[in-house]
Symmetry: C2
Subunit: 570 residues, 2 copies
Amino acid sequence: MAASWFAVFRLRMRGKSVVVRHQVLNQVHNHTSVGTHVGASQVQAAPDHHSDEKENERRRLLHVVQAERQEQAERSVLISCHATNSEKKFLKHLSKYGDIKKHFFYQSFGLYAVVEYSSQESVASLLEHAAIPTVNHESMVPFKSRLLSLRSLASVGSADQQSGQHCQPQTSPPISELIQRLSREESIDQQITALTEAYQLTEENIRLRFLVCSLLKDIAAAYFPECTIRPFGSSVNGFGKLGCDLDMFLDLDGISGRNVKMPRSGLSLEYHMKSANSERAVTQSILSVIGECVDKFGPGCVGVQKILNARCPLVRFAHQPSGFQCDLTANNRVAMKSTELLYLYGELDPRVRSLVFGVRCWAQAHSVTSRIPGAWITNFSLTVMVLFFLQRRSPPIIPTLDHLRDLAGPADKSVIEDNDCTFVSDFSKIHIHRNTAALGQLLCEFFDFYASFAFNKMSINIRKGKEQNKPEVVPLHIQNPFETSLNISKNVNSTQLERFVALCRESVWILQQSATNSPSGESGATPWGLAALLQPLQVPGNKGRKRRSREPASERIKSLLESLKIKNQS
Amino acid sequence: MAASWFAVFRLRMRGKSVVVRHQVLNQVHNHTSVGTHVGASQVQAAPDHHSDEKENERRRLLHVVQAERQEQAERSVLISCHATNSEKKFLKHLSKYGDIKKHFFYQSFGLYAVVEYSSQESVASLLEHAAIPTVNHESMVPFKSRLLSLRSLASVGSADQQSGQHCQPQTSPPISELIQRLSREESIDQQITALTEAYQLTEENIRLRFLVCSLLKDIAAAYFPECTIRPFGSSVNGFGKLGCDLDMFLDLDGISGRNVKMPRSGLSLEYHMKSANSERAVTQSILSVIGECVDKFGPGCVGVQKILNARCPLVRFAHQPSGFQCDLTANNRVAMKSTELLYLYGELDPRVRSLVFGVRCWAQAHSVTSRIPGAWITNFSLTVMVLFFLQRRSPPIIPTLDHLRDLAGPADKSVIEDNDCTFVSDFSKIHIHRNTAALGQLLCEFFDFYASFAFNKMSINIRKGKEQNKPEVVPLHIQNPFETSLNISKNVNSTQLERFVALCRESVWILQQSATNSPSGESGATPWGLAALLQPLQVPGNKGRKRRSREPASERIKSLLESLKIKNQS
C-alpha cells in the first residue's frame, strides 16, 4: 500500500513511550538526532536509575534549550500536505531546496508536516519558488510566511481520501481510555510514569510550539527587528500537557539604543518615537497592532481576541495548522522567571514532574481545576502545592527557593519591578538530599499531607519551604514566589478548598483499600491504584453518594504507607 | 551672528524664483546637483524660449523620475533639529556616518532637515548610533524609523530661541499677498508665470514628499517586502500647489509568485494565505492594518482616520514633521494613469501648467473649488477643462488622448479593469503644432470659451478633443478619460455651474476694462490683470454687488483679444 507509511510514521503526538517512539523514528526515517533534552522527554520512577553524569547532561539551562529550539524553528517550514500520499515524493520535492535535517508529520485540521532544513538559505530558496495561490472568486492577502501548502495536480482526489486514515489527535487521551491503560500497569509507580508519558509534551509537539512562535515572530519582527517571541509557562516549564495552551511573550528587551549614555556636550541623535504615559499603554499599543495583523494577515490564525484591558494585556487566537490556542503577551518578565523556576525544579528530580502530572490529572478528573476562570484551584497553584509538599519531605526532595537564591552567582541576579527574582541557574551547585521515596508513596503522602494541612491558619510558601502564618483572611493562601506580597490562589473560595481537602481524604482512603491497592489479576478489568482515583469519588458536592468516613486520614493511612514502603524497598 | 545662516539658507518652500533659489543653494552650500527635472520646476512663458534639445532633456518619463526620487528618498533621513544653531556643527556631526550628497532645512512644527547620503550604508550606520530617548514619566514605542531628533546638551535654551527666527511656511502665500505681488508685474503673461512660481512645488518639497512615502513604505514593507508606496496626483503630476495633500498608493503589483504557471503534474508549493471574496476586501484589510500601525507606531503621524468604506478605501493622516496631509490608498492603478497623463500634458508645453495654475487660483479665490467635498467643481475637473480648452485652440496646443493612444507602442499598452489606459510615453513621437499664443491671451480665451460653452447639451471630452452629446442629464458632464462611462463632475449642481459661467463672463469683462488691463504705473498700487481677477467679483450668489452686463462675453471680448495678440507679437 503506497500510503501506508502515513499510518506508521505519522507523528504520534501522544503515545505509550516517548523514548521508544523516538528510536523508531530515528531508525526508519533516518532522522538526525538533534538533542531531545527538552524537559519532560525522559521519565524515570526514581533518581537512582540515573548516573550523575547523565543527570548533568540532562539538566540544561532553559535559555540554552530555548535558544537552540528557536534557531531550529527559524530553519523550519510548516507545510499543509493534504494532496500528497508518498513520503518519498514529498522528501524528493522538498530536498530540491536544500538538506533536510528533520521532518515529521501530524494531523490537525488536515495533514501537516514540519520540515527543518540545515540552513536558512534553503528556506529562502523554497519561499522564492512558492506561488501565490489563485482561487476563483477569491483574493489573497499577499502576506508571505513559512506556512505553505503542497499541491499535487495529478492525484488530489485519491490522496484526500487516504490522508484521512490513521490520524491521531494532538491532545492527551480521554480520561476513560487513560483509566483502562493505567489499570493494566503493575504498580502505582508505573501508573504514574505511564500517565506522565501519555500526557507530557512530545519532542515534536515542542518543536511545533517553537515553530508557531517563530512564525509569529516574523510578524512582530516586521516592526521590531530585534524582538523575540518566547514561549513560557507549560509549553517549556516541563509540566505541559499535550493540548495545553501556547503562552508566548514578545520580548522587546533586545532592542538596542536604550539606556545609551548621552554625551555631556555636543550633538547626538535620537529616534523620534511615539510615546505613552506608561509601559502598559505602550504594551497595549503594540499588542493591538500585532493582534490586528494576526487577524487580517496571519494565515491559519482565527478567532483573534484583543484582551488589552486585562492586568496583563494579551492577544488570544487559535492557530489552526498547529491546533494551538495561543496567548501573546508582552514584556511578561516575571512569568518567564516562574517558568525558569518550575523548569529547574522539574529538572532536579524526575519525580517532581511525575507527581505534578499525577496530581493535576486527578484534580482535573474531579473538577478541582478548570479551564474556565473562577473559584477553582489553578494548575499553577496545584503545582506549587506539589513543590511545597516535596520541600516538606524528610529529607527534602527539592530545596527551598530561598536556598536557590542563596546559591545564585552574580550573573543570576534578577530584580523585576522591585521583586527579587534571583535564583541559581547552575544545576551543579545544587546539592540534592538522598530521598528514595517511590512515586506511589509520594502520591499517597501528598493526599495525606493536604488532607490535614492547617489551611485555616497557614500559608503555603515555597520560598521558605515552611508554612507561614497567613497574612490575610482568605480560604487558601499560597505566596507568589516572586511577587511575595501576592497570593496566587486568592480566587479560591472555601467551597472549592473544602472539596479539595475532602477529595484528598477520600483518595487516601481508596488507596488504603486492598481491592484498589494492587492489580486485579485479570489484566485491566477493574480500575485500581491511580486509575481508581481518576473515577468519580464520594465527597460533599458530588451528588448521590455518601462519605464513608470522617475520621482523620492520617490515622487510616499509616498501614498503607508502611505497605507501600515495603513494596518499594523489595 | 552665529545663527544667521538659518535666516539666509533655510529652505524657502516658496519664493520668487525657483531657478534663482537653486543657484544660490548650489553656490553657497556646495550642494551636488542631482537633477532637478521634476515637472514644474522650470516655468517659461512660451515654448519658443526653449531649444528642442532642452525640451527633450526636460521631458522625462514619470516613472523614470519617480524611480530616481524613490532611490534618493531611501538614502535620506529626516531630522528634527530644534536644538542646534550651527550648520557647520550639524554637517560635521552628520558627516560622521558618511558622505552627504544633499541637505536642506525647513520649518514645519519646528525646524527640520532632510539629509541625503550617498549610500544607504551611511543611513544604517547613523541609525545604529541613534539612541532611544528616555523621558521621565513616558514610555516609548520602540519602533525605529528614519525620523530622528538632534539633541545638543550644551545649548538647548539659546538654540530654541534662535531657531524660531526667519522661518517661512511651506504653504503658498495668502491670496492678499499674491494679489500685491502680481500687481507689481508688467504683463499678464508675467503675472501668470509669477503665480505659477509662487504656487508650484519646489524641488525640496518634492523631495520631502518622496521621503514621507519612503518612511511609510518602511512600515508597509514590514509585511510586504516587495511593495512600493508611490505618490500620485498633484504631488507628481506637475500641477501640485505647495501645501497640497500627499496622495499615495500602496503598490503590491511587484509581489512575486503571482500568476506562476503550475506544473501539469507532480508537486508544487503555494503560500498559505488569508483570502477574501474580493480585491476590495483585501485592500480594506491591508489598509486597516497599516492604518493601525501608522496610528500606534508612526512617529509624527497624527489624526489617523481609516476611511475603508469609501469607493476607494483609504487611510488619512497628518504627517506633522513634513506638514503634509496624507491619503494612502492601495492598488489605485487608474489614478496613477491619470497622473501620468496629466504629467505628460504638462511636460508637452509649459503653458499648460501655467494656465492650470492661473485658472485654479482664480477658481479658489471665488470658491468655485473647495477642499470640502460637495457640489463644487474639483481641481481635477477644472484641469481637464483647461486641457480640453487647449485641445480646442487652432492650431491645438496639446493633442487629444485618442491621438496619444494611437501613437502608443506595444510597451505602452495598459488595460486596467477593462478600461483602455493606453497612451504613448515617448515624448519624441508627439508632434506639437506651432501655436504661440501668450498666456494672458489664453487665460482670456479660456474664460470666453467656457462663458459660452453649451453645457446644457454637450460633454467635455479630452479623449476626442471635441465636445460630445451628453450621454445623461446632469448639469456638467466631463468624461472620465479612462473610465469613459463615468462623469468626473457628476457632483456639480446647476447652481455651482451657473456661478462658474457667470464668473467666466465677469472675468472677461474685467480683463476688457482699460483700468485693469495694464499696470497702473504706481508700482502695485492698484490690482490689475490677473490680480484684479483674484479679488471679489460681482456675480449671482456674491451678495451686495450687481452684475454689470448680461450681453454675451464673446461679443465684448473681441477687442480685448485683439489687443492682447498685438501686445504679444510686439
